[in-house]
Symmetry: C2
Subunit: 274 residues, 2 copies
Amino acid sequence: MIVACAQYAVRDGDPETNLQRSARAIREATDGGADLVVLPELANSGCDFYSREQALRLAEEVGETGENAGPTLRAWREVAKESGVFVIGGFLEREGASLFNSAAVIGPGLFRRYRKTHLWAREKLLYEAGRDLPVFDTPLGKIGVLICYDAWFPEAARTLALRGADLLCVPANAPDDWVPEAQRRGGLTILNVHAVSHANANRLFVACANRVGDDYLGRSCIVDPTGGVLAFGSEAEEEVLKAEIDVERSRREKRLVEHSHAFGDRNDDAYRVF
Amino acid sequence: MIVACAQYAVRDGDPETNLQRSARAIREATDGGADLVVLPELANSGCDFYSREQALRLAEEVGETGENAGPTLRAWREVAKESGVFVIGGFLEREGASLFNSAAVIGPGLFRRYRKTHLWAREKLLYEAGRDLPVFDTPLGKIGVLICYDAWFPEAARTLALRGADLLCVPANAPDDWVPEAQRRGGLTILNVHAVSHANANRLFVACANRVGDDYLGRSCIVDPTGGVLAFGSEAEEEVLKAEIDVERSRREKRLVEHSHAFGDRNDDAYRVF
């Protein structure tokens, strides 16, 4: 399968423009043969709102069946149905008076949603946090989702891995991470480093799509179960990264060498019970 | 305080030579003003033994009080007493008929030991695994120890951090990590990546000392709580890396920005109970 990460500029507070941009990115990915495409965090709305009321207006409902979902989700479902692609894209979600920083997991016959579990800073004043770390069983493999700051928590990646995830998809709006350029190696952001660390520790694939423009850092990445960086985005350019992956490797390569296994070598008794 | 990581060649099965080399490395570190020096894994013995009997002969006892400890441990204690330096060094430990891959934590008035909790591959056939992840309270700060493959387990780093560690010291004998050079960014090994990930996720300092020579990868590193790489070793040269650090940062910088805290933002209910 071919995994793509679409790195592009999201326009805060302009859902029509953002829908065009996500549709264009998905099309570019599918034209390149992608079976699955990861979009940035909050790809319908951006993340900078002048009021809660504005955020509530921009937010989309998922609806019980998805039939009455918001315009972005319906558009992504339409393209999934037409082209067969799977879309993992961040979106601003509303349920009644509550807001969530969510990601859609949409494919032919699949319409699910994950809610960000670790809210960053003032996000706590706007959103309610998700409480679950689900793994989505798809024909392409088992998919876990982490949204941006979620990836700073190794327990979250481990939990998804232990639940069987083959691929972690990470929609992100990661800005500056405050590491001085001289102390950063190979251009890797902290999000990249966590992606490589999670991929290697859990022996699975990780695909991060980060926003560019404004203060966002780009440098989207696709990482394999050894921690090898298969694709790496620039800091500022819009681009669709792609890598061909064999998700079966995430299962086969849990065994590292004879007598070593990424999960079997864990030492439960020694860990603090979280 | 100044932290040093001594990266040098350890000679398998030759404890006299290794004792000279560790003493020279410690002296170079203290001459450079180091308050604490990390040595590689199994710095008394190396790690390649032709028989269990040989390993038992090479191994050192700690002894009840340390008075009757093995020659390497006594030498490190002597230098700690004379110069005031703290030494965190890997050593092959024997207790009765049991072998452990251990690290000494030695300073003026301090003589403790940590036993590797995650054994790599055929190490399981030789050593018994440690069951605890202790934090050592020293005048320099609270020190946690991970030995090489231990650092592949984010739960272990997190456990030490939650127990108050300011600094993780990582004696290592890390060889090739099977990442193709083209997929490795900035020369970072997987051990380096985990070090940066642990440092940032847990907002603490990490100091890794890796062996060089034979098939060992070197690239020792000292990382600060943002994930900035303060010092980075070469692939093959013997060298003593140094960095001046303020361990108080590990406590202050748990708070990231207003409303965000590295530990407070954890979401226990969502994690699988490990």
